[in-house]
Point group: C2
Chain length 254, copies 2
């Protein structure tokens, strides 16, 4: 008993890649490609073919051995799995530079999402038009969110306002939040928050850039730097924060 095809439990990591596959497939479809092998699709999506196959196998057995995957059919299956066969109403809170950019983002990402309303707290913004939407007073958030059946909230406010806005979105019944503000939001466990964080990404890039720069330096100098250089922070260019070391004497630490 129990055929259980695609009943449950796709790994998070796989889900996070499905949108990438979907885009690659759509691009192939636009080029008139009707069939694609896991190898080709994996290249287009920038992943390992085995990983791609395992990911897809979680949604069911939609390929044909010896041939590959039918592009349109796979697009449909992934879309369905991701919940893109229905429309999702999105509310954007904060129409600063970023909020405007999001609101004007043509077609709002791919199909499946529709901007339902915009909010701001600034009286000078309220009532103005952004794209083909009027900016609402954030005071009306709960009412309008319920009216328009908004399912996803996007926070594009300053960090200081983010938690407060988040609380109100949650109070209005929203359980999917995309946060662009540089803050950790606290929400009840029934609510899912994803964050998009420019500054974090830049800092990660900086880390690796510095690492590259240092290893190239070490490759040039014949001398293998001892730990002294690392233990004296003043050796760096911009002393942003004089380290005011903590009381701690000769602790070489094990």
């Amino acid at each position: 008993m129990r055929p259980r095809n695609t009943t449950d439990g796709i790994p998070e990591a796989s889900i996070a890649r499905l949108p990438v596959y979907l885009r690659a497939l759509q691009s192939l479809a636009d080029q008139g490609v009707t069939t694609v092998s896991s190898h080709q699709l994996a290249i287009a999506a920038g992943v390992n073919p085995a990983k791609l196959r395992k990911d897809l196998s979680h949604l069911g057995s939609y390929g044909t051995r010896g041939v590959g995957y039918e592009v349109d059919y796979l697009i449909y299956q992934i879309s369905r799995e991701l919940g893109l066969t229905q429309d999702w109403a999105v509310a954007i809170v904060g129409v600063g530079n970023l909020g405007r950019a999001l609101a004007n983002y043509g077609g709002f990402a791919s199909r499946g999402f529709q901007i339902a309303c915009l909010f701001d707290a600034d009286p000078r913004q309220i009532g103005t038009r952004v794209g083909h939407h009027v900016v609402h007073d954030i005071a009306d958030l709960e009412r309008i969110v319920v009216e328009k059946r908004v399912a996803i909230g996007v926070i594009a406010t300053p960090a200081a306002a983010a938690q407060q806005v988040c609380d109100r979105l949650v109070a209005a019944g929203i359980r999917s939040i995309l946060n662009f503000a540089p803050t950790v939001l606290s929400v009840p466990p029934t609510v899912e928050v994803r964050k998009v964080d420019l500054s974090t990404e830049l800092q990660i890039l900086a880390f690796h850039a510095q690492r590259r720069a240092l290893s190239e330096l070490e490759a040039l100098d014949v001398i293998d730097y001892p730990d002294i250089e690392r233990l004296d922070p003043r050796a760096v260019s911009r002393a942003d924060e004089p380290p005011d070391r903590p009381r701690r004497v000769a602790g070489v630490s094990r």
Copy 2:
């Protein structure tokens, strides 16, 4: 021999969290807090205290047992590890809605990053001012990037132009790229690309939202849906892509 304090090899996952810790610490510092325990900081950063301690232990032994971490000192150490004690020149390519939003983003993320130049391909944009920068012709990309010693490139162009722009950034010597365009970029292995992708994030949210909606539906109905419902895609509301099923007959597939 070999004290090797912080010589090498911090796990990627830890690095990705350091910026979050840094922000939490800066916020604490602003509130006048001078010392923090792993427990408190973990709450502020939204992670498990043990994970936090393990992450920090990769940079060295900067805590004091029985007390906690000195906020300023830890800020400094994390900043140094991330390479934020020096400035990084950033180039933004594409001054559409998103590019403008990024360019105007106050102080550009946190300290440590500085916008060095903006580029666009559209003649109507070239020469105009965005923030306190003039938009350069993308034709001059290589020259200006080298002149200004740009280390990080941000791609905020339409998807169609992204790979081409990326190739030119790489040709100009840039090895850290932040990609906002919805495309998989292909780069030599010496170059690091990170992507920020609105549409992917929304789709992941939609997946979980759909899952919640379905499981609530199942909780209401007493009937446990058999697989038939899942095998007939036309049961969904918005038939975006009539599934045109592939030739395949009764394959129940184990």
